[in-house]
């Protein structure tokens, strides 16, 4: 199974460990993973800021780079959502690209969705002795219907207890550039998410989107919480023995 890994710009820059865990997990499950080296960004920052042209350039680039993978796997609900939910509209001005866009959309999978519904993973190498709570990132949830898949995967991790927070589906307040442009509102929303996380008493908050991750961790630490771990689910699944390169 030839799987293209769309690693995402934030993972690449800030948390490459997530990319390496993803690689390990996929290869461990028997996938032949390719990582197109020219990949940079899915175009979402431009798209959501209203700069269609810039976003279109990057989207066409992604189309080319991942043209010959059987599957394209993305460890991010928002980038996965950008491709699957928005590329068709974004590239609608280029009708000759439609077949390629449709093909890409059909082959693109958010990581948890891929692990559960394509690889049908039953065992994971990781172990987590403690409790976690899961935050449903908005794009993953509402654009890609990722809800049960991460929970199903976490249930396979020995030692792990899942404690749901009161409103796991409530936005964390990141919203891309919103987090900087309307920082006071964004922080307040993040604060409420952190209170919800704290209310579970869990050792870690686990999620599937790097924007949420940086936002939640950033607010937790500033609140004085240096204990609650903030982890991408693939880090929990792959375990600590996974690679720092």
């Amino acid at each position: 199974m030839r799987v293209g890994l769309f690693v995402t710009c934030l993972v690449d820059l800030v948390r490459p460990r997530i990319g390496l865990c993803t690689l390990d997990l996929l290869e461990g499950a028997g996938c032949d993973v390719v990582v197109p080296t020219t990949q940079t960004c899915c175009g979402q920052p431009g798209y959501n800021s209203g700069d269609r042209k810039a976003a279109q350039v990057l989207a066409k680039k992604v189309l080319r780079e991942f043209a010959d993978c059987e599957y394209v796997v993305v460890p991010s609900g928002s980038c996965g959502g950008m491709i699957k939910a928005h590329y068709p509209e974004l590239l609608s001005e280029f009708p000759d690209l439609k077949p390629d866009v449709d093909r890409l959309v059909a082959r693109t999978w958010e990581l948890a969705d891929f692990l559960v519904n394509v690889l049908k993973l039953e065992q994971v190498p990781g172990r987590f002795d403690g409790s976690v709570t899961y935050h449903d990132s908005c794009s993953g949830l509402r654009e890609l219907h990722v809800k049960s898949q991460p929970r199903k995967l976490l249930s396979k991790v020995p030692g792990l207890t899942l404690k749901e927070m009161a409103t796991p589906e409530q936005c964390c307040g990141f919203g891309g550039t919103f987090a900087v442009k309307f920082g006071d509102i964004s922080s307040r929303i993040a604060d409420q998410k952190c209170a919800d996380i704290g209310g579970t008493g869990a050792d870690a908050v686990v999620l599937g989107d790097l924007g949420c991750m940086l936002n939640i961790e950033g607010r937790l630490r500033r609140r004085g919480d240096s204990k609650t771990k903030v982890l991408h689910f693939v880090e929990v699944l792959a375990g600590t023995r996974a690679s720092d390169g």
Binding site: L13, T40, V57, K61, R142, C171, F178, F182, G245
Partner: protein
Amino acid sequence: MQVQSEKFKAGAAKSLNNPHLLKAMGNLRNRMVTGRAKSILELDNFEEIREAARATRDLALANLDYLLEEFERNATARGTNVHWAETGKDVNQLVLDIARSNNVRKIIKSKSMLGEETGLNHFLEASGIEVRETDLGEYIIQEAGETPSHIIAPAIHRTKDEVSDLFHEKHKLPRKTDIAEMTREARMVLRPHFLSADMGISGANFLVAESGTTMIVTNEGNGRMTTTLPRVHVAIVGIEKVLPTLEDVAFILRLLTRSATGQSISNYLTFTTGPKQPGDKDGPDEFHVIIVDAGRTKVLDSNLREALRCIRCGACMNHCPVYQNIGGHPYGWVYPGPIGSVLTPAFVGIENAIDLPNAATFCNQCGVVCPVKIPLPDLMRKLREKQVERGLRPRSERLGLKVWAWFAARPTLYSALTRIAARLGHWAGGRTGLIHSLLGGAGWTRDRDLPAPQGKTFRDLYAARARRRI
């Protein structure tokens, strides 16, 4: 209403520092959000109804001219005076003309957001006519000289104590502290106005084309009184509110009341067709319906058309994390929350409401709960695109995006840049791995740390790994 949307950021900051507002928004969530979730469980085919509601609203919009003419024909045949108003000013003038030709001195009003758009009350009062809001929330803000902060619960931002003080001051009666007693006092104070008013003004939730009927959805009884007691009744309605048949209203109502307040049905659904009929002992002698454009045809002719499906339930704002924290006033006009972020720039001009479509995380809680499936984040994105096209974005932002896009399209340069940024960022994070302040990033770092990069890019680590494996 005067547009104050340019003060959005300052308004939001003020809201965030207002503990009363935080509590009020908590009350709103407990009632409206929880209420809605419970009540839609009563509908085993909720999504089917929702899709039919979307389709019916789209059908109405696609045939708007035909249906409005049908409405007019049927309403006129039943003795209704149908008027058309192109602008808010025209609405105000028409209402004044009707009032003057009927020697109207006192008007009672049941809620009309369209009336808020046009500034109807102030206009009529300036012309020497007494106007009394009768919906309790609207009455409170009228007495307080304020604007509504929510389309269903306009006084949600006010605490009980503030209302106690207000009533004590205005009614000149002993100060009440019990909410039921305050409500009773409002009833007592407003009842004489109902009975002595010359004219009633209402909005309309829907116009029914097949029968020339207007209908309103209320809980207090003021809607029924406004449309029954005075000798003249005027309903002002946006063009987009028309539905083909009574059955269309009936099935969509199941979604409207649940989406708005979590009620299976609102207290009073009032369908009005024509004025007093021969033999009737009550009802107005004259019934006027003013069909209003006020920017709606422009929206119909734009890529924001889907916003005209709106049935004014308020679910979007109830579920919006931004609205939940700042309330309605920062939005600066009649409609707050997600629908306000689309309608305000659409109606008052994009340049007068720049922040509104940007003050959204695009979480799409709004789109998921909208009973007529308005794709609110998509419409806000279209407004952001318009802003970019018209050069309305700040220079720094345009530059930042251009730089980002330029590098992202050039992988070799991008990988060099990110290699440096990863290393620098890691260093800036120090031992804690957290960056506490960032040039140009105060919006983030004022209240949050920024987790530092791990030091190397995935690209470089992957390349190194690949080399080791050879």
